[in-house]
């Protein structure tokens, strides 16, 4: 397909974030939207993520984005006019606390979540065991549970947004790389790709783990860093675990996906910032140990495959959704810190509103200036 040589907006990154933005812009009537994706759609963080959808967050912004995004996941077939089964499963997230201090933090989170209309509640170790009978609760002091949290299939959500965007005339170019962003008199004038030049005055950085590289193209040193996170998937088995089981201190998440396989991962505290996306034996061994201890019944499951992807981490573990002050016309939906997939639906709407100068449908402030001011509100609930 030939590239348009002129666009109203060029979106760099064909993951769920870029596609959700493209779709929402087109739905609001913008013409000539171009999406650039270096590989295939969802080839970066989206297609490598843990597929969880969680509303139990520890900051107002993350709670708000996740709560409203869940509404969209629940109504995605109607909203995106698709028959596709996105494999939405809402059987909850069970978050486990392993110390009184952690439980105190959970209680604070619950208060915040209640204010944002998130139906989470505190559970005792006994109640946790009722929810997940094969759970080893030996060291568990308590937890929280939100029954509407769950899972959706990232590949199919990407496809749903892709199909909807294409129907509205969005040009999506896969295997096409943005190599430079050209500025004239401080403003954006176009994007140079490996297949030609596109004149535009608006560019959206939705490049996930590679967003710092896109920032460099306009001379911005963005406060984001790529960090490898690894995952494995097991063979399919009959459904026996409803909720995602998760702990920040024990450092694990593990969910049975609707098709039957279990997906699990943890965050290595010693992982350096890098673009490394290779999987490691160390992960496999640690993951097996953690899972076998906490969920012994899973010991008999065979690992089918392991892989890695990049978190794009910000200092406060909250995303950056804003227009640059230094470079007008340069927009960013980056730094999702491991939870971009689950808040992509709302991010798509908010970014389209920002670009079109509309009033935001959700009260958020996720600009870059917060990192200069200090006083960051840290998201405590990240694996």
């Amino acid at each position: 397909m030939l590239l348009k040589d002129r666009a109203e907006t060029v979106i760099i990154g064909g993951g769920v974030i870029g596609l959700a933005i493209a779709y929402n812009l087109a739905k609001k009537g913008m013409d000539d939207i171009v999406v650039l994706e270096r590989e295939y759609l969802g080839s970066g963080a989206t297609g490598r993520c843990g597929a969880g959808i969680r509303q139990q967050w520890g900051t107002e912004m993350n709670c708000r984005l996740a709560r409203k995004s869940m509404d969209i996941f629940e109504n995605m077939n109607e909203l995106l006019d698709t028959e596709m089964d996105i494999e939405l499963k809402q059987q909850g997230y069970l978050l486990l606390a392993f110390s009184d201090k952690e439980m105190e933090q959970f209680r604070k989170n619950l208060e915040l979540q209640a204010r944002e209309n998130i139906p989470s509640r505190e559970v005792t170790p006994e109640e946790a065991k009722e929810i997940v009978p094969h759970l080893n609760t030996d060291d568990v002091v308590g937890g929280t549970f939100c029954p509407t949290d769950g899972h959706a299939n990232p590949f199919l959500v990407v496809k749903a947004y892709e199909d909807a965007a294409r129907r509205l005339g969005v040009e999506i170019n896969t295997f096409t790389e943005a190599v430079d962003i050209i500025k004239e008199a401080g403003r954006i004038s176009g994007v140079q790709t490996d297949k030609g030049f596109i004149a535009t005055d608006k560019v959206v950085n939705a490049a996930g783990g590679y967003s710092c590289q896109i920032g460099e193209m306009v001379g911005l040193d963005l406060p984001v860093k790529p960090e490898r996170h690894e995952i494995l998937v097991t063979e399919r088995v009959e459904p026996f675990q409803g909720p995602m089981v998760m702990s920040f201190s024990y450092n694990i998440y593990c969910q049975q996906t609707p098709g039957g396989p279990f997906l699990m991962g943890f965050g290595d505290p010693d992982e350096p910032a890098s673009f490394n996306r290779k999987s490691s034996w160390h992960f496999l061994e640690e993951m097996a140990k953690k899972t076998y201890k906490l969920l012994p019944a899973l010991g008999d499951l065979r690992v089918v495959r392991q892989w890695a992807g990049l978190y794009n981490i910000t200092p406060d573990r909250q995303p950056i959704i804003t227009e640059s002050r230094e470079v007008p016309g340069f927009y960013m939906a980056i730094g999702f810190s491991g939870h971009g997939f689950m808040i992509a639906p709302m991010t798509g709407i908010l970014m389209s509103e920002m670009i079109l100068g509309e009033e935001l449908s959700l009260d958020i402030n996720l600009d870059l200036e917060r990192f200069e001011k200090g006083n960051l509100i840290l998201e405590p609930s990240v694996v």
Partner: protein
């Protein structure tokens, strides 16, 4: 033979007809096809289907089989139980 009856991916039960449908939608890459219909994602890890899909794609693209890019080969090489990795004795 009816292409609905020619099974390319046994683990995910995908016929040649179903694979053609996705290719004709415009997807040209094994990784794309894999993600949309789960080709090669079952317990045999693409042992059979990856040997067949490159021929189908090569035909569409008028290319040689060698020119079709294979998906990343991901460990482990074969299914291994979590408790085996931990080192717990397992009956074989």
């Amino acid at each position: 033979m009816d292409e609905n009856d020619i099974i390319i991916c046994r683990c995910e039960d995908l016929s040649l007809a179903e694979i053609r449908e996705v290719i004709e939608e415009g997807y040209t890459n094994i990784d794309e096809i894999k993600r949309i219909i789960r080709l090669g994602m079952g317990p045999c890890r693409g042992g059979t289907c990856l040997q067949l899909i490159d021929r189908v794609l090569a035909e569409y693209q008028g290319a040689g089989r060698d020119e079709i890019q294979m998906p990343t080969n991901r460990p482990p090489v074969e299914g291994i139980k979590l408790k085996e990795i931990v080192g717990d004795a397992v009956e074989r």
